[in-house]
Structure formats: structure tokens, C-alpha cells
């Protein structure tokens, strides 16, 4: 298991999840969990994905998703799960 956290933050618009999920499906990245909220018009999503079957490495996925985010008008970040685990779990 190679868990990555993808966060999407920005102004809500039609098709954000669709576009991100399409990219992930294309690259063979499996979604394990999605949570999403909208706070005063701002879209805030977190996905936990497994990249062990991915056709691209995290560095390329990170660049691709950043570019995709710019097209949609949101900020997309890709980070390895360990940074959150180490900070929030003893």
C-alpha cells in the first residue's frame, strides 16, 4: 500500500470531483476514501488514494494534478500520508 493524500481547496464549481477522479482512473490510482465539505462557498476535499498500481510516480502525479487544479481554478496538493500520520498519531 502506497497511500497518498490529495487535497483540493478552492471556489466550488461543477465537475471538480469528476475531473480529479478521471485523472486518477486514467493513471490506475485507486481511491480509498473521500471526504468533502463546503465552507462559505469554498470547496474543501480530501482523498486518500493508493498509488501502488499507479502508472506514474508521486512526483509526476503531483505536477499533473497541480496543473489540473490551475485549469479548474482550485489548488490541488499531493502528499504522502506519513507526514499527517507522524504529526497526528502517536
Amino acid at each position: 500500500m502506497n497511500k497518498i493524500i490529495i487535497t483540493v481547496v478552492g471556489k466550488d464549481t461543477v465537475g471538480i470531483i469528476a475531473k480529479v477522479c478521471t485523472y486518477l482512473a486514467d493513471k490506475g490510482i485507486n481511491i480509498l476514501d473521500i471526504s468533502q465539505t463546503i465552507v462559505s462557498g469554498f470547496f474543501n476535499m480530501m482523498m486518500i488514494v493508493d498509488m501502488s498500481g499507479s502508472k506514474v510516480d508521486i512526483s509526476d502525479a503531483s505536477d499533473d494534478l497541480e496543473k489540473l487544479g490551475e485549469e479548474i481554478g482550485v489548488v490541488i496538493k499531493c502528499q504522502r500520508e506519513e507526514i499527517f500520520d507522524s504529526m497526528h498519531r502517536i
Partner: protein, 454 residues
């Protein structure tokens, strides 16, 4: 499983509160480079450092990208050069040739500072130690990224006052040699008591003689994260205040531990320590003085500041100690003046003096750091200030350091700008009374009674 609020908390710390890994520092032993031929020595040093650290910068950048955490600096520390050059260097100019080799290799591997142009003379000086110290003004004025440090005292040995007196003179000469650049050479020179062998922070980093061939040490930072956390507990009791600092320090240090382990695996170099420090930068919101303000003093330097800093320093250590398997270096709150916007504001407001800073160094992790003083400050006065600070370290069994910049041609009322992380600040006044008869005594101050623990 990790939830969305935890992810948001971490990312807000990084994006809004300046959480970062301040430095990954690779310590490299140069003992196997030693030769009695200067050219061979320089060649060996270049090759050892280049081969050890050629992937340091790219590895740091990869880790930063994958975890989404900035790693601000990648640096190298080496074995004190006074030891490495002792056999080959017959003049201080010979030592300068090593400084130039270090400068070249540092630039070739792409790091921004290299520390270890150093001598350890806490009890006495060899002729090589003396030559290296005498070469410091030329070495620092003819190189860009080489940092120098000299350990002149320890709790076990006392204070080498001959070295202190010499360094008062060397600080002045370094200031004069870089006078056309606001005496910036002095920003790369630190004088220590009880210098740690594994400090990853510049300018005082060197790879101690007790260390392995190569090692990865990491320094974390996050004054902004602590300040933001404290904003939420205004007016609460000391218990709540301390708990909040500890929890925040734990989180910040865990990131450092993660990055250190990852860098160690990827570079195939053993993990040494995490230095749990609150290291400010001139960026707004990245200030230790702002934390002191948030704890409750109007400006750093106001009555209560030393107690507030003592509390902060101790809680950072308590929180951080549990987050990392190996803690070392300087570990605590740094109080440099020119690198901390809140400190600069405090000086400008008239709240913070050199004497109050000296008191604060009794309870913080380092010492009188990045303080610009008038260019006409006498060498003996500099030696007196160094001796005072070394005495605090010796008696309190802690590391203390002095990094003063007598800015040639400037005086109280002027400001100085060193650029980048080194920051800017006002020239601070220095006590005008003399201490020549004290510092001109020869020999050393004996070790204190509580050093006899055997």
C-alpha cells in the same frame, strides 16, 4: 484513518504559519583526507565532500515535494579544519586555501552554507589552532558560504582567555576585512562555550570528532505555528499555556523526525539527531519575539521576558523530546536579533538592550546572536562581551555562543541589511566602560567546582 481536519491543520501550518524543515545538514568526517601535502589535502577534501553530498540537494527537494513540506536549506558540516589541516598548513594562508576548497565544493554541490572552518581550543591552542584562528578574517572575506566557529570554553575545562582575547581581535579584523559589505563576514563567525558536536544550524555547525564518518542531522522550525496555537489560549493559566506549547512542539518535531529518517534512507547515511529549535526568520509571522509577546510581554525585553523565554524553551524541549528518538544540537528557542522581525521591533521601541539579551541567553538555547553593534567597538570590549557569555555557558552547563557584528563605519541610529535569512536591524549600543585590564590577563579561567563529578 487520517481525517480532513487533521490534514487541513497540517497544511495550514505549512501554508500560513511558516512551518518548515529549516535544514538538512550532512556531517562529513574529513579525517581520512589528512595529508602532509597541502595540494593532496585540498584534493582529498574536495573529493570526499563532493562524493558524499552530490545528491544532498536533489534528495532534499524530492522529499520536500513528496511530503509537501518546504525544506529551506541543505547544508554540510565538516570536521574542524584546524585538526584536518594541522599537518599540511604551515601558515595561516595555507588554511585559507582549504577555506577556498570548501567554498568551491559547497557551491558545486549546490548547498548554501558549509560549517566547520573551526578550532576547538577550550583549554589550549595548538599552533595549528592559532594559525586557523588568525586566518579567519581572510578566509571569511574571500569565500561566500564557508562558516567558522571556535569553541573557547566548556564546563569541564574552563575558559581559554587567551583565545577569547585573540577572538576579540579576530572579530574586529573580520569586520574590517568585509567593511565594504556591512562587515557581513562576522555573520559567519560564532564563538562557543560547550559547543555541541552535532549542531545542524549555521553558522556554528561542525562535525564533531566523536561523530561517525557521515551523518544526517535535521533542524526543524516553526515559531509561527507556536504563536498561532497560543493565540487560541489567551488569558488561560500557565498549565494550559505550557500544554499548548508542548503539543505544538511535538507536532513540529515529528515532521523533522520523518524528514530526517527519510533523508537518511535515501542518502544511505545514518540518521544522527533532530534539533528541536524555534529558529526565526525575518519573514513576518516567523518570530520568537512574537511568541513572547503572545505569552504576555509587551515587547521582547520587557520585565517578564526572561521568565517567558525560560518557559518557552523548556516546553519546546519537553514536547519535542517525545517526538524524536534522538534529540541533539542546540534544541530550544533562538533569539537572534537581525533574523527576527519582532526582536528588531523591540530594539527600535527601546525595549531590548544588549544586557537584557545577555540575561535571556541564560535560559535560551544559544546566545548573543546576530547583533549589530557600532563599528568603533574596541577589540577588548568584544573580548569582554565574549567572556561574559562564555561564563554563562560554563557555569550553567549549557551551550552559549556569540555572533556579534561590529559594523565598520556605522554607529547607533544606523541600520544594517545583511540580506536574505540573515536579515537586517538597527545598530545596538554597547556599554562604553573599559575591560582592558581584565581581558589582557593571560591564561585561562579554571573549570567551575561543579565540573568535578568523577
Amino acid at each position: 484513518m487520517i481525517n480532513i481536519s487533521e490534514v487541513s491543520e497540517t497544511n495550514e501550518m505549512i501554508e500560513k504559519e511558516n512551518l518548515d524543515v529549516r535544514t538538512i545538514t550532512m556531517g562529513i568526517s574529513l579525517f581520512d583526507c589528512i595529508s602532509d601535502d597541502l595540494d593532496t589535502l585540498n584534493k582529498n577534501i574536495y573529493e570526499k565532500i563532493y562524493n558524499s553530498a552530490k545528491n544532498l540537494v536533489s534528495t532534499g527537494e524530492e522529499i520536500a515535494k513528496e511530503f509537501g513540506i518546504p525544506i529551506v536549506n541543505k547544508r554540510i558540516s565538516v570536521t574542524p579544519i584546524a585538526l584536518i589541516g594541522a599537518s599540511a598548513c604551515k601558515t595561516s594562508h595555507d588554511f585559507v586555501s582549504i577555506a577556498k576548497t570548501l567554498d568551491k565544493v559547497a557551491k558545486d554541490v549546490g548547498i548554501n552554507f558549509l560549517g566547520g572552518y573551526s578550532a576547538l581550543v577550550s583549554k589550549g591552542m595548538t599552533s595549528a589552532d592559532r594559525l586557523l584562528i588568525e586566518s579567519i578574517p581572510e578566509a571569511l572575506s574571500t569565500t561566500d558560504v564557508v562558516c567558522s566557529s571556535v569553541n573557547v570554553g566548556s564546563t569541564k575545562t574552563g575558559i581559554n582567555m587567551d583565545a577569547v582575547r585573540l577572538l576579540g581581535d579576530i572579530v574586529r579584523k573580520t569586520a574590517e576585512a568585509t567593511a565594504d559589505n556591512d562587515s557581513a563576514g562576522c555573520t559567519k563567525l560564532v564563538i562557543f562555550c560547550n559547543a555541541p558536536d552535532d549542531n545542524p544550524f549555521m553558522a556554528g555547525a561542525f562535525h564533531g570528532v566523536t561523530e561517525a564518518d557521515r551523518i544526517i542531522n535535521v533542524g526543524v522550525s516553526g515559531p509561527g505555528v507556536v504563536k498561532t496555537a497560543l493565540e487560541k489560549v489567551r488569558g488561560e493559566s500557565f498549565e494550559v499555556l505550557c500544554e499548548t506549547i508542548k503539543k505544538t512542539a511535538f507536532k513540529v518535531t515529528r515532521v523533522g523526525q520523518l524528514v530526517a529518517k527519510e533523508a537518511s534512507v535515501r542518502l544511505d547515511v545514518p540518521f544522527g539527531i533532530v534539533d528541536l529549535s524555534l529558529a526565526p526568520t525575518p519573514a513576518i509571522g516567523d518570530s520568537v519575539a512574537d511568541i513572547l509577546h503572545e505569552i504576555g510581554v509587551e515587547h521582547a525585553g520587557a520585565p517578564g521576558t526572561t521568565a517567558a523565554l525560560a518557559l518557552l524553551n523548556d516546553q519546546v524541549k519537553k514536547g519535542g523530546a517525545m517526538a524524536s528518538s534522538y534529540v541533539g544540537g542546540l534544541s530550544g528557542a533562538f533569539i537572534p536579533v537581525s533574523e527576527d522581525q519582532g526582536m528588531i521591533n523591540a530594539v527600535n521601541a527601546g525595549a531590548l538592550t544588549l544586557e537584557k539579551l545577555e540575561a535571556m541567553t541564560c535560559v535560551c538555547s544559544v546566545g548573543l546572536d546576530m547583533i549589530a553593534i557600532p563599528g568603533d567597538t574596541k577589540a577588548t570590549t568584544l573580548a569582554g562581551i565574549i567572556a561574559d557569555e562564555m561564563a554563562i555557558g560554563m557555569i550553567n552547563q549549557k551551550t552559549t555562543a556569540v555572533r556579534l557584528i561590529p559594523v565598520i563605519g556605522k554607529t547607533v541610529g544606523d541600520t544594517v541589511d545583511f540580506g536574505g535569512l540573515l536579515g537586517f536591524g538597527p545598530i545596538m549600543p554597547v556599554n562604553q566602560f573599559g575591560c582592558e585590564n581584565f581581558v589582557n590577563r593571560t591564561g585561562r579561567i579554571p573549570a567551575p567546582i561543579h565540573s568535578f563529578k568523577n
